[in-house]
Amino acid sequence: MQEPYIVASWPSVPVEIVRAAGFRPVMIRGASGPTPAADTHLEPGIFPSRLRRLVEDALTGRLTHAARIVIPRTSDADYKCFLYLRELVRRGVTTALAPIVLFDLLQSRGPDVPAYDVARVHALLDELSSASGRLASDDDLRGEIVRANAARAAARRLVELRRPVPRVAGAEVFPLLAAFWEMNPDRYAEMASDAATRPPLAGPRVLLTGVPVDRHTLHETIESHGAVVVDEVGPWGSGAAGDDVRIDEDPVAALAEKYRDDSIGARTPVDALRRLTQSRLDEVDAVVVSLPPDDAVFGWDYPALRDVLNARRIPHVCLRSDPYERPTPADHAALDVMVSAASQLHEARHG
């Protein structure tokens, strides 16, 4: 029998809560390919690939067995997707669909936000517990936090293979890091610990930023030019684990704080994202900024980032194409120029 699962649209839903309630988390990710059913309802140029896929799956019966569809308030597009799905159910466009839940975790820095978020995490736990019939105690939650923290430690060991000297290609390690969100944490910790130490990889080290990528397609493209992607600003690669969740008497509050402060998405405060990005620049030779056509947010950060990169003489390229599609010749040409400049910088630094 299939393990009961919930589907989430972004990894800002606390997996510890999901598991404590007796479910396996499944995160929807983007992919190339048509989404004809979703396109009937979702306006073009607004919803990222992962949300188009979510609605496509919802309308074509692929989510029939999910216990809940949890949509976090990670972006305006996610919130609108929640409203759309609810309406499609109300209008009878789709009927074989699990209840759709909005997880309204806010990320702004107002003093009213933490208490609001704690209440929302409690509400999510209640909702999932009622779905599974399993009432999770604080001890259950603490147990899940311990397991997830062990997986986080394993993910951090994988990250150490990437920097300061890369020993594993970005395209290879990214799926392993991304698996943190869905894999059984005990198995994840074992798997990540088995990763062998490798000899150093040649080529300039690249940071991938802009709209967070959820697959390694762009890594493959960049690495086909002789560079190594050693870091990403986003929740799927090096940012998957982050710091541990603290273990104390109020596990719900600890989770609310962790996911509010560490979740990376369109509503992450700009100062936090800027600090995060700039903290990574010491260990890279070049930066790729991905700003696909559905971007409404991260492009605002680009001029300031560009000025920092220029001041630090770090080559960069800004890619506007859809990361799930084949890169354009112009993308390849720009990457060639960037890698060439970064190689010179890399040699000058490291000989």
């Binding site: 009213d112 605002w300 001029p303």
Partner: protein, 421 residues
Amino acid sequence: MADSQLEATVAASAFQKQWFADLRRRVFDDRQPYALLQADVPFELFDLVDIPAVSNQWWAAIVAAKRQATKFLDAMDADGLHGDLCRYCSLGYASTRYAGAGEAPWGGLPTPRLLCARLACDCIHRVFSLWAATFGAELFEIDHPGAGDLPPRWWELGRSRWRELVEPHRLAFVVSTLERLIERLEAISGRRLDRDALRERLELVNQQEEVFDAVRHLIAAAPECPVRMTEQITNVMATQWVRGSTWALAHARAFHDEVKRRVDDGVAACPGECARLMWIGAGLWHDTAFYTAFEASHRAVFVWSMYLAFGPDGYIRYGLDDPMAALASRTASFNEYLHNPPWAAEWIVHQAREHRIDGALVLRPRSMKPGATGRLFIERALEEAGIPVLPIEADVVDARGWDADGARASVRSFLDTRVLQ
């Protein structure tokens, strides 16, 4: 054909220009604070502590109408801000950040003491952070908790049963944030916000919107539309930014009386009216002549936009025992009412029927992503209600990609083939 503008329209335009001149004088000469706000922030709170407030969307519309937007937006492009980012909410920022690129209307925006925005869409935090940094001014953000419960026919609940419209935890959050905003405003102005005065102001806002409700019913019921949509917008929006003030209420009444006289006298914006149109979305500020372009050729007149209709349905709150909660209930779901399912489509179809609409033009915004959501639900609902729909792709402040002739040709064809056949 009623070529001359209403006296109220001339007065509204003059008021806005004078108001802005007074603001500049007050800021530069008297060194008094003012605030820059997103349109959905409760302006009443600022006015009650004597901090005048300029609406970002109003300012963007003025810049676009004065044909200056292109220069600022070109500068924005040249600085690396890609073309898919929202231009409507950021044109004001561009007119500050790239001030040398164009000539901002009426001397431009002085430096505000405070910027304030609801984080109703993702880009607002970015745009207002950049804008505040450019000015070196403080930013106050009102976060936007998402609605998990959306009872149908929101406009029937909004006036008296508004607590049913907003879930308690969302309402409490917005109240709490507004209380913090008041603390900041009191600190800036040195004045205490009088809660009784807030209740009285909201009662005056109710009265103002009741007047607009009466205007809306006059327009809906008149045999032919008595006042063009563009004039409706000018009169409504001039009062909305200072809503509940003595001038706003008096002006609303003057506007009402003038419209009523027209109805009584049988004056029509477009005599021999053959087609009644509605415009769904923000106004096309760089080409407002578009809205009258089909009167001579097809006797087609724009009757409805959200600007007049939303006031009565979105703002009136009866039962003001707790005025902060009432204000918060209006603030909490602004965008969902106007754009998103199920609320927007239901309301717009209801409005279309009340106004005997023959055809709807739905804006497909090029860069304004939140404004573009829900559009397909609205289009489908209108078509299902028997109202033909023509989508119009445009940016409301950026004229650079606007094919004025092509759009007019599309509308003429739409009128010929779907509306007047």
